[in-house]
């Protein structure tokens, strides 16, 4: 068999050659206007950029950062960087400035591509970023901001005189292609290095019909940002099969997304639950429908039941739950019903669809007890979730030690069950379990139960000291606007939904619940916020 190493540039080459007329549509961040061109155009411009980067002395293995929304220029940068063997380091602009400073210095990025709106932030930071030699603003001369950043050039100016021919060099397929830091709820962010090989395999795996299953007949609105968890692999998966690609730029509000979904006749989209909540609110307010959309993929955090039901019943759109981690490229499981489950009643089907799902082929998965013994796949046994596979991290960037055990298993930090049909369900983050009198209470289950109440916008559970039980749950609730819900009403509501001894010892109502940079509930900040809070029982005894 032929043994030419896999290179991600093949994906764009393939699209340009065999799906060359298919469009990439972008809502530009400069002015909100729609830009459209084809995969064939994209490849030509990507090669111009590849030539420009070579002139800037980019070498195999160099780290080149991007801090940008989903646009055609950002897409070109991914391919021009990785295609020549450099490493595309996608920096999440929503991180705190100290984190951004840390990861750029840790990665020693030599060039930073950035959207114009991030120029002020970088002007603040740039003295602390000695490795960066060039700033490339993803815009044209007309939209170029004046800036105090040194060695700054507009993207269009950089590439305009370059030739549109470029021979992708040959290098081993284990060569790193990209780098993404986990937002890290504790300690410094850690870097995950993806390779051409791992991205190739992951892209194939997610394009299997049973996983994401993109096709040339699809128009894909890629809401999931290109700076988030390898962009769920969509930046490779779309050109691989010639899907039309719609990039929403920075406008992720319900109305802007609806406009793209409708005007571009989008069939598939992917985003975190927050985005879908905003879209549903907009649709409901404006009394609009989604005649083209078929499937939306949701990941990043558990999907609320009402999102699934609302899409099903009001819009005839299927919500598919996916689970993964930055460390897993990121997709590990997908939740689709097996044939015999189609006969179950609707609520039972939704119960299953809210699980994390079955592993994508290539991902091995098991749950273990504290001694590392594998637990049965019976839907009852609860254990630490371990994974392995060719697109799962082995060692964090620049770390001396492997992140996997001797058997190559990576500990996800999640606590889960696996049932007899292979469906995995996360019951908690290991560090978020609440230990009450020697027994575990799942904060996730309790949160999900509370989220089921129509007047609860967001719910979070943390453990607090209890003189008798050691730790007991405190439920923190952000009610919806103009809510009238009371603590006693919520207690009543929860009574038949969780075990009696799981009922929270107290409920605190707040205006807002802190989120991490990637939109998840920040238990770290929440614990900080409730640091001095005492449960009623604790108050009595203290």
């Amino acid at each position: 068999m032929q043994d030419e190493p896999l290179n991600l540039a093949f994906a764009l080459e393939h699209a340009a050659r065999f799906h060359g007329h298919v469009e990439i549509v972008t809502r530009q961040v400069d002015d909100g206007k729609i830009h459209r061109y084809t995969y064939a155009d994209s490849l030509r411009r990507t090669k111009k950029l590849a030539n420009a980067l070579r002139k800037l002395d980019v070498q195999v293995g160099d780290r080149i950062a991007t801090m940008a929304w989903n646009t055609f220029r950002h897409f070109e940068a991914w391919y021009a960087i990785a295609g020549q063997g450099a490493i595309c380091h996608t920096v999440n602009p929503r991180l705190f400035e100290q984190q951004i400073e840390f990861i750029i210095n840790h990665a020693e990025d030599s060039i930073l591509f950035l959207d114009a709106q991030f120029v002020p932030m970088l002007e603040q930071l740039q003295e602390k970023l000695p490795s960066i030699k060039h700033y490339i603003v993803l815009t044209d001369e007309a939209h170029m901001p004046t800036t105090t950043l040194p060695k700054t050039v507009a993207y269009e100016t950089l590439i305009q005189d370059e030739p549109d021919e470029f021979d992708w060099p040959t290098f081993p397929e284990e060569t790193p292609s990209s780098l993404c830091y986990t937002s890290g709820t504790t300690g410094n962010p850690k870097g995950v290095i993806y390779t051409h090989r791992s991205n190739f395999l992951h892209s194939y795996a997610i394009n299997c019909k049973d996983v994401i299953g993109l096709a040339a007949t699809d128009t894909v609105l890629k809401v999931v940002p290109m700076f988030h968890a390898n962009s769920w692999g969509f930046a490779y998966a779309c050109p691989m099969v010639g899907s039309k690609l719609v990039l929403p730029g920075s406008q992720l509000d319900g109305e802007s997304l609806y406009e793209l979904l409708d005007e571009e006749q989008v069939t598939i989209s992917a985003a975190v639950p927050t985005v879908w909540n905003m879209l549903l609110a907009h649709l409901s307010d404006s009394d609009r429908q989604l005649p083209y959309l078929q499937e939306v993929f949701v990941g990043g955090s558990a999907v609320p039941r009402r999102v699934v039901e609302s899409f099903d019943n009001e819009y005839e759109v299927t919500v598919v739950h996916a689970w993964g981690m930055t460390e897993m490229s990121p997709i590990g499981t997908i939740c689709r019903l097996k044939p015999f489950m189609k006969q179950f009643d609707y609520q039972r089907q939704v119960d299953i669809r809210l699980k994390q799902g079955t592993p994508v082929f290539g991902v091995a998965m098991k749950i273990v007890d504290d001694d590392g013994n594998e637990l049965p796949r019976d839907g009852l046994a609860v254990g630490r979730l371990l994974v392995k596979g060719p697109w799962i991290v082995k060692r964090y960037y620049k770390e001396p030690d492997n992140a996997v055990d001797d058997g190559s298993w990576f500990d996800t930090g999640d606590i889960a069950t696996i049932d007899e049909y292979g469906y995995m369900q996360i019951t908690d983050r290991a560090k978020d379990l609440i230990k009450s009198g020697g027994e575990w209470i799942s904060s996730v289950d309790l949160e999900n139960a509370a989220m089921g109440h129509p007047q609860v916008a967001l719910a979070a559970v943390i453990g607090k000291f209890h003189p008798k039980w050691e730790e007991r749950p405190l439920l923190v609730v952000k009610p919806i606007d103009n809510s009238t819900v009371s603590a006693s009403e919520l207690f009543d509501y929860l009574t038949d939904k969780v075990a009696k001894w799981w009922l929270p010892d107290d409920i605190a109502f707040v205006d807002d619940i802190p989120l991490t940079a990637t939109g998840k509930i920040s238990k770290v900040q929440l614990r900080e916020q409730f640091h001095d809070y005492e449960l009623p029982e604790a108050r009595v005894s203290s």
Copy 2:
């Protein structure tokens, strides 16, 4: 990223673990009875066989032959052999005995798995097969034939006392997994070695939604034999995603296949056109429908238009045309319509669906002129079809020279066009073109045109000497039973379907047209048969 080498045994391990209750259904060759068990059962028995093979001193790289129909035991043998690093050499029992002798000796197979029906043939051959140390008959003691073959054991006896635990060894993923000889219309058959890596990538690629796209919701009737062209990759693709697998044994007639399609509620199937012709005839005779079947994949030779139309209009089943070669693992292209083509009228859609299609991601493809210059993708330029990719042959087994050029391109021996949307259409085998007065006539186009006549069962075109034009086409026709069609009627029929100068110089009616072992028209034998035939013009001049 983790770097454990890919091993095909992962596919069966994955199926057993996460789709363990899904069935493999076999029509047994012993007695025609249905056997059913699950992927979990299959893995246990495969491991018993793996232990048995180890006891027979099988080493990494050893060639182990199979000569067998599609059954659960054959399936187990594939995984037990390749999973421990040996090479599963699938021998096509339809080959001529001399070819079987040649390839077994060429491969130096040490063990032969065979169905009981092939025992007599092997008794004839065995003295000429010195490398074979053990014959394993794929049956149980009750169905074991008496035989003069030395060292022969029934499969069930071999594995019965073995443990069902086996740790798949680790070896580089470039290790060969399987071997398949091309039937070779000229010269000796040539061996194509597949590797764990190439099969892994090919399986992912064909499970993409736009290619074959198998899913856990599918029941797959794998008609394409496991001894034919790597079984089109289905033996790996099904367990990868947990499809229910139906194996038809040796009974490939219309009624037997219909029974399985109906009783097992098959959704997807794959076979050569001959099989579908037989099924359509059976359905029509017996007035039956196909309520469960959704898609049938057809490859191996061009699909007749009436097969596509009949499935569409009478049975609501979509025929999807795939193209490939044993040298390509085998799938290279798939023919599915792009979104804008759905607006075309039905006949124009069928015109496109009869093309070979667009390349599967991973396969690069171009057409070149006689000097190797790439020709435009405009649907008009006709050139030699070259391919490359990670599941395409580099060098035939034990051959000293590469089968590819310096740029890693493999010459398919086909003549093709590629249109602006990437659809490739084979116009001829290079060696089957007819050169008439310096211009090429496509025998394939002429055959397809003749096949469109309702009374033509099979048509073949060969070039014959012509005193003026050097070569002119002779059309050989096998009419349907009780046909009344005449040569002049066929000439009239063809007049508005091909260029005037393409019209055959003569039409010969025959009872049968010789086929190769894999069911394709054997132009070699046909030329032999018409060796002494002279065209009318040649007769006059001679």
